[in-house]
């Protein structure tokens, strides 16, 4: 069924591109999604969305003007084209630009990422399936004497692009469930799963994992601000890498000299154990085969054996940098915030798990996840975040008791330089933040041990 629906969306993109004329790009994104929220072992909100976005990017004089609509009749498409052309005309009036145009594969010799594979059962978006997972989570939480809070969500997104020179289309599905368990004493625990198929979501298992963290024995300890060795579980690692994506791998900021890796490509920026890439066709990620400009996606090594290797570009940032797009456009013509890798994969190491990573630590911290993470100064890149939903004290090589949450303020690249060991098992992590038109993404990464992390205060 999704194949015929994808054809419809492709035809819409081709119709829009035809109306827009030579050099223009038409992108169409159709979203069907369902999100069920819950709090304190009861459902609270639910949102089902069915909508389509048509985006026209017209080029004139090396400048791009864009227009969007969610109406798909011919008149609405024609109006959208008119607005895009008017924007491009006004843009061209600011002087000759450097945008070279859409739709050309400037690196045709390199293998492309394979198209994504949607899951037809997930695409059904059955509310009963989601409701059953909520019920399973509630049952497990009640059995553990805790409250379950969280979401279950699934989505099907069809994306197409078309120009007068070519076209592309793919359908994706994604699913995410998280459970935060709150214990009567105020402690909390977290578990989440991100996948391509909703059948992989297991509300009961997630609630049990989160409940175990929330009810871990022992009175919470407190640590004063200072530097401590830390074992970051995969969710926390994913959060740090997403921060780094914006601060270090954005090709636009890099070209401006504002990026954390400006002037540092080819130099050692992390531990030799760090191998980080954008891997759009890795089966562990939510795969994608092209970006918002129709540029084919390919694997992009970012840090190899601790050496900074590359940054991500869209067509505009690549033109500024004198290179070619790496297929990381978020918006046709270039997003104001630059180009970003959206399929980060951090290679695993040899440790069997968090327990083994804790073993060399005499006194340190195990962090389940980070929250309210923000870049303070991207050039350094200094970041801050608070620990949340499962922070524990490590003493003499093992987790001994809960720990009050703390604020981390440190240099994200230097954190990677202080990595001592990584776990063997990688996990697809995500916070399930689905703003705007659904674009599910995640970071594949293992847990890791960092020799020292700077904590600047308490939290929570």
């Amino acid at each position: 069924m999704w194949r015929s629906a994808l054809r419809e969306v492709s035809e819409l993109a081709e119709q829009a591109a035809s109306l827009a004329g030579p050099g223009a790009l038409a992108g169409v994104t159709r979203e069907r999604s369902l999100t069920l929220r819950f709090a304190a072992n009861r459902p609270t909100q639910s949102t089902a969305v069915e909508d389509v976005t048509v985006e026209i990017a017209a080029v004139q004089g090396g400048r791009v003007g864009r227009a969007t609509t969610n109406a798909v009749d011919t008149d609405a498409l024609a109006d959208c084209v008119r607005r895009a052309r008017g924007a491009a005309r006004a843009a061209a009036g600011t002087g000759e630009g450097s945008f070279p145009g859409f739709g050309l594969d400037r690196d045709p010799g390199t293998p492309r990422a394979a198209p994504a594979r949607p899951d037809s059962a997930t695409a059904e978006l059955a509310p009963g399936a989601g409701g059953a997972q909520l019920e399973a989570a509630f049952t497990a939480a009640r059995a553990a004497g805790v409250e379950a809070h969280g979401i279950w969500t699934a989505g099907e997104v069809r994306r197409t692009w078309a120009t007068d020179a070519g076209a592309g289309a793919e359908g994706t599905t994604d699913a995410f469930m998280k459970v935060i368990c709150l214990a009567p004493g105020g402690r909390s625990g977290y578990a989440a799963h991100t996948a391509r198929a909703s059948a992989e979501l297991d509300g009961r298992a997630l609630a049990e994992e989160a409940a175990a963290k929330a009810t871990a024995p022992g009175a919470p300890a407190e640590l004063p601000p200072g530097d401590y060795p830390v074992v970051f579980e995969a969710h926390a690692v994913g959060c740090l890498l997403e921060l780094l994506a914006g601060a270090a791998f954005d090709g636009l900021a890099h070209a401006d000299g504002r990026g954390a890796l400006s002037g540092r490509l080819g130099t050692v920026v992390a531990s030799p154990a760090i191998n980080l890439a954008d891997s759009p066709s890795s089966p562990r990620t939510l795969t994608r085969s092209f970006d918002a400009e129709g540029t084919p996606k390919r694997p992009l090594p970012l840090i190899q054996d601790g050496v900074a290797h590359a940054v991500a570009h869209d067509i505009r940032s690549a033109a500024l940098a004198g290179t070619v797009s790496t297929g990381h456009a978020l918006t046709p013509g270039g997003d104001p915030y630059g180009a970003l890798p959206t399929n980060l994969v951090l290679a695993g190491g040899g440790a069997t798990g968090a327990d083994e990573l804790c073993q060399p630590i005499e006194r340190g911290i195990l962090v389940t996840r980070l929250w309210y993470a923000n870049v303070i100064r991207p050039k350094e890149p200094l970041v801050t975040a608070v620990t949340r939903d499962g922070t524990f004290l490590i003493e003499d090589g093992r987790v001994t008791r809960p720990l009050r949450d703390l604020r981390l303020t440190d240099n994200a690249l230097e954190l990677l330089a202080r990595v001592q060991a990584l776990g063997r098992r990688q996990k697809l992590t995500s916070d399930g933040e689905l703003y705007g038109r659904r674009f599910a993404s995640g970071v594949v990464c293992p847990a890791l041990r960092c020799g020292a992390v700077r904590f600047t205060g308490a939290a929570g």
């Binding site: 609270t44 909100q45 864009r66 009963g128 935060i180 929250w371 705007g436």
Partner: protein, 481 residues
């Protein structure tokens, strides 16, 4: 549409305990220039219908980009199906009563921003860009314009049928300077960072920003910051003004008094609150100088409207009075749960495809009696002044925070002194507001806008304003990052 929505609601009335429907049409225009050329020129339009039903305490919400009768009826069916398929919502209460909303409203606009030619807007931005370019140390120049118009039609099974159109317009500029060796990057923004200053008004407000006039100062400060001394660590008297004070109100007061958070409904994402639901009249939130009002009627505020997205009339709600907690931001459901007579009218949705959730109206710090900013600086002796935000972070109970501004000025001998870079500070919400010993007078009270407040699942970005006059805080930990 004025026939379709009431028909839809009539159809829903027999099948749900409550239902409402919103038709929302949104038009947005964004322009920005970058180093003298066009950076972004977007013209976005979308419209659709969102249908919300309540069935045995469980909510179902479905949205469709289609605007025909069949589309709307399909959305209703989907919303009913979703509500019915969820586990039972034990312990739910009836919604707080509300008289049916009726009528039409449009926010004031002197000059329609969408009627102004693109070329005219670009000319203003390029003039501002040129003003920055005169400063040779600046490596990146950005100037922005944006306009937004939202038209909403709302109907509910409680008999509401109302229509409103809200128009917003504004802009910003920013200058980035790099150290010669590339080791340091500093930014200065005007009138605010994170998208700038937007007002519920027309093009006249964009013109009133006078971007070109402020450009040379912004550029000079960005360059000066690169070589300015770093804010030293320690404890200091702190004066916050403009966007930084607005964001402080937003993060540590506004979010903390959202009743859905207080009741634990946002624990899965935005977090909870250190404020108990039973704390009205008993929780000391700040010093006696601190008064806060959530006001959906503030002229020009992005949190202003005639009705919220469940048909409750927007009004002013006291939040803090003489330092004591006085109220919450609430919805019909959350208000009923803690026994309030009426919702605070704070339910807002980002668009037709998002369910309304409790959001801030204009959460304003009431003016004090400390005179002007210059008066306050003169009265302060030694301290720091921070006015534009660069980074923010606060824990999920809205208790422990850490912010960093773009720039600070040292205050020495009651005068504004040298510029300091990287001015960070940290605190604990009630202690911080408890240390507030002066707020400037009404003449220095301004609304600032915040354009990127994220909350909800799926995510919703909301726009809000905060009014404040510069305020002083004693013994604050600074230089923490």
């Amino acid at each position: 549409m004025r026939d379709l929505l009431p028909d839809l609601i009539d159809s829903a009335a027999a099948r749900a305990d409550y239902a409402d429907a919103r038709f929302v049409s949104t038009r947005r225009e964004r322009l920005s220039t970058r180093n003298g050329g066009l950076h972004e020129l977007d013209s976005n339009e979308c419209e659709g219908i969102g249908v919300r039903v309540r069935l045995r305490g469980a909510w179902g919400f479905a949205a469709t980009g289609g605007t025909g009768r069949r589309d709307a009826e399909a959305a209703l069916e989907r919303a009913l199906e979703i509500a019915a398929e969820q586990p039972a919502a034990a312990g739910s209460v009836a919604l707080a009563p509300e008289p049916p909303a009726s009528g039409a409203y449009a926010s004031p606009v002197e000059r329609d921003p969408f009627a102004v030619p693109l070329e005219d807007k670009l000319a203003v931005l390029l003039a501002a860009d040129a003003g920055i370019a005169a400063e040779p140390g600046v490596t990146l120049r950005i100037a922005r314009f944006e306009a937004l118009r939202v038209h909403k039609l709302f109907a509910s099974t409680d008999g509401a049928l109302c229509e409103q159109t809200l128009t917003e317009c504004g802009g910003a500029l920013a200058a980035v300077a790099l150290a010669v060796d590339g080791s340091e990057s500093q930014v200065r923004s005007y009138p605010a960072s994170h998208g700038g200053q937007v007002t519920q008004a027309g093009y006249e407000q964009f013109v009133a920003l006078e971007l070109e006039r402020h450009a040379p100062r912004v550029a000079a400060e960005a360059v000066a910051l690169v070589s300015a001394p770093a804010c030293p660590p320690g404890h200091s008297t702190l004066i916050l003004a403009g966007e930084q004070l607005g964001l402080q109100v937003h993060e540590s007061i506004g979010h903390a008094v959202e009743l859905d958070r207080v009741l634990g409904r946002e624990a899965s994402y935005a977090g909870t609150s250190f404020v108990p639901a039973s704390a009205i009249g008993s929780l000391r939130f700040g010093s006696e100088r601190v008064g806060v009002t959530a006001d959906a009627t503030s002229a020009g505020g992005l949190g202003s409207y005639r009705w919220d997205d469940e048909g409750v009339e927007g009004r002013a709600v006291p939040i803090v009075r003489e330092g004591m907690l006085a109220g919450f931001l609430s919805s019909r459901e959350t208000a009923a749960e803690i026994g309030l007579e009426r919702s605070g009218g704070c339910m807002r949705a980002e668009g037709f495809d998002r369910q309304p959730i409790v959001r801030m109206t204009n959460v304003n710090l009431d003016p004090g009696d400390a005179g002007t900013l210059d008066d306050l600086i003169a009265d302060t002796g030694e301290g720091l002044l921070i006015e534009t935000n660069r980074s923010w972070s606060i824990d999920n109970r809205r208790l422990q925070f850490q912010f960093e501004g773009e720039a600070a000025w040292e205050i020495r001998g009651g005068e504004r002194g040298r510029l300091l870079r990287n001015p960070s500070y940290a605190g604990v919400t009630p202690e911080f507001w408890g240390s507030c010993d002066a707020v400037c007078s009404a003449g220095d009270w301004r609304l600032i806008s915040l354009l990127d407040c994220g909350k909800g699942e799926p995510g919703q970005v909301m726009r809000v304003s905060h009014g404040s006059a510069p305020a002083r805080f004693r013994d604050v930990e600074v230089g923490v990052a």
